[in-house]
Subunit: 111 residues, 2 copies
DNA sequence: CGCTATACCTAGCGTCCATATGTATAGCCC
DNA sequence: GGGCTATACATATGGACGCTAGGTATAGCG
C-alpha cells in the first residue's frame, strides 16, 4: 500500500532549508510552499514538519520567532542561519551526487 | 571509506531488483554490481543487504537457490520473479517522479 | 453559530538502513 | 602449515526518520 509517493526519505531537511533560504516563513507556509513548487507531488505532513523544525532549531540551522500572520493569527516564523545555509549546501550537493549514482545503476551503464 | 556515501534511503529494494533484472546473482555479487555501476559511490552494507533479500523473497519478488559459485564456494543465488519485475517497474517510476518533484523545489521555480 | 482554513504540537508506531559481530571456506604466499 | 585476504552468508541491536492519529486554538464567513 505504499505507492502514494510522499517525500523521498532523507530529503525533508533539505526541502525545508531550501524553502527557508528564499525567505522567512512559518511552518504551515513552508508546507504549502513545498507542495506548490512540487506541483502537488510532495506533501509535507505536519507530524513530520514540526518535529523537524524543532530539531533544526536545536542544531542551530534555523531560528524562530512568534509573529502575527497576514491572517491575524499567531504563527512561529523561521529564519535560516549561516550554519543552516552551510548545511543546505552540503545536503544539496550530496543529494545530487546520490541521485546521479542511483540513476547510473538504474540505467544499467554496462551492457 | 573514501567514498563514504550511503544509498538514498528507500532505494535499496529498487537497486537490488534492478540488478537482478539483468541476471541471476548471489548477495555478494549484487553488492559488487551496485558498487561498480555507481562508480564506487554507493556501498550496500551486508547488514542491510541480506535482510532485504530475505524480505523480498517473503514477498515473492525473488526466489533463491544454493549453488556453487565460480570460486568453489556455496552461495545463495537470487532470481527475480514476475511480481518482482512489476514491483521494480512501479518503484522505478515512483523514484523518477519523486526526484523530479524534489528537483523542482530545489530549483526554486519562483523567486 | 457552525464550518472551513489556518496554525501549532505531541505520542506512538513501523520501516529502514548501518554497525557490530559471528561463522565459514578457498586460494595464495611464505 | 600458518597466516592472510577475499569471498560469502547471517543476525542482533539501535538510531533516525517520517507517518498516523490525535489534540488545541483562532479568524473569517455565511
Amino acid at each position: 500500500m505504499a505507492d502514494r509517493s510522499p517525500i523521498l526519505p532523507g530529503t525533508l531537511d533539505l526541502l525545508v532549508l531550501k524553502t527557508l533560504s528564499v525567505g522567512v516563513l512559518h511552518g504551515y507556509g513552508i508546507a504549502q510552499h513545498i507542495h506548490r513548487l512540487s506541483r502537488e507531488a510532495l506533501s509535507v505532513e505536519e507530524g513530520s514538519l514540526y518535529p523537524v523544525l524543532q530539531r533544526m532549531e536545536t542544531k542551530g540551522w534555523v531560528t524562530s520567532e512568534w509573529k502575527q500572520s497576514p491572517t491575524n493569527r499567531q504563527a512561529r516564523y523561521y529564519r535560516i542561519t549561516a550554519a543552516g545555509r552551510r548545511q543546505l549546501g552540503a545536503e544539496e550537493a550530496n543529494f545530487h551526487k546520490s541521485v546521479a549514482a542511483t540513476t547510473r545503476v538504474l540505467r544499467g551503464a554496462e551492457s
